[in-house]
């Protein structure tokens, strides 16, 4: 279900990490699945009209000798790029990590995002 075409991830091939996008009264909320990553291993950057999430594992515990009989995920790192929706306040961007989910709040730009109700006669 992708309603807003500007939210389509044009760089999906970079990673198969699932993504949720919500819209509420204040703006958009992006939810990234980042299990196993610590706060300092994640970076959220805005570049032009792109929101970029970079995840890179710092510690080397995976370097330990492990013989996998089943490997369904790998979290050494990934980069995820998304096109930012219009009328958002990039300066108001904030991110929070909890239980392996990174929530990025992107508020509307109140000057440009105008909600008006029209009376019907």
């Amino acid at each position: 279900m992708r309603v807003n075409s500007s939210l389509i991830d044009f760089n999906r091939s970079f990673s198969n990490m699932p993504l949720n996008v919500l819209k509420n009264d204040n703006g958009y909320v992006f939810e990234f699945i980042v299990p196993g990553f610590k706060q300092e291993e994640l970076k959220v950057v805005v570049e032009h009209d792109q929101l970029i999430l970079k995840a890179k594992r710092v510690d080397g515990t995976d370097a330990e000798k492990m013989r996998y009989s089943q490997k369904n995920f790998d979290h050494s790192g990934f980069t995820r790029k998304l096109k930012l929706p219009e009328h958002v306040d990039v300066d108001g961007l904030s991110a929070k990590l909890a239980h392996g989910i990174l929530k990025v709040d992107l508020p509307f730009d109140s000057k440009k995002h105008i909600v008006r109700s029209v009376s019907i006669n």
Binding site: M1, R2, V3, N4, L7, P18, L19, N20, V21, L22, K23, N24, Y28, V29, E31, I33, V34, P35, G36, F37, K38, E64, K65, M66, R67, Y68, S69, Q70, K71, N72, F73, H99, G100, I101
Partner: protein
């Protein structure tokens, strides 16, 4: 469990049709199967390991039980807690917190008493040391 309750109520014929229908629809809209989280299974020289990805879960919402060689990891009363921010409008929804259950049969050579589980950053790590007799033995041979 639900179907058993349904059978009990069949005895009360006045509710027969109503209940049968409501049971049917209730089942219809429930997910039929529990999901299985992504897992890595591996071994090192001294231990077996299972990593499960459980983003969104808290430690208190997961149970790890061992019955003989069977290890069961599942979500606790997830049905009530699944409704996270249900009122928000999703423009895109790739994931959702769902009830899960996973069973593993541990290798015979495990040291079951020393099984350990740790949950951190949305990843459940279970480690089962190998029994002593299974560890590689290193014998130094003297050369005469």
């Amino acid at each position: 469990m639900r179907s058993l309750a349904g059978i009990n109520r069949l005895a009360d014929s006045s509710f027969f049709m109503n209940d049968l229908l409501s049971e049917f629809f209730k089942e219809e809209f429930k997910p039929m199967t529990k999901t299985k989280p992504a897992s890595n299974i591996y071994q090192t020289e001294t231990a077996f390991g299972i990593d499960l990805l459980l983003p969104g879960y808290a430690k208190e919402e997961i149970s790890v039980d061992m019955d003989g060689r069977n290890l069961v990891v599942k979500s606790l009363d997830a049905e009530n807690k699944v409704s996270d921010s249900a009122e928000a409008t999703y423009l895109r929804r790739d994931f959702k917190k769902q009830a899960f259950e996973m069973k593993f049969i541990l290798p015979k050579i495990s040291d079951f008493d020393k099984l350990e589980a740790r949950f951190d950053l949305g990843v459940l790590k279970i480690s089962i040391p190998k029994a002593e007799q299974a560890l590689p033995k290193k014998i130094k041979v003297e050369i005469a």
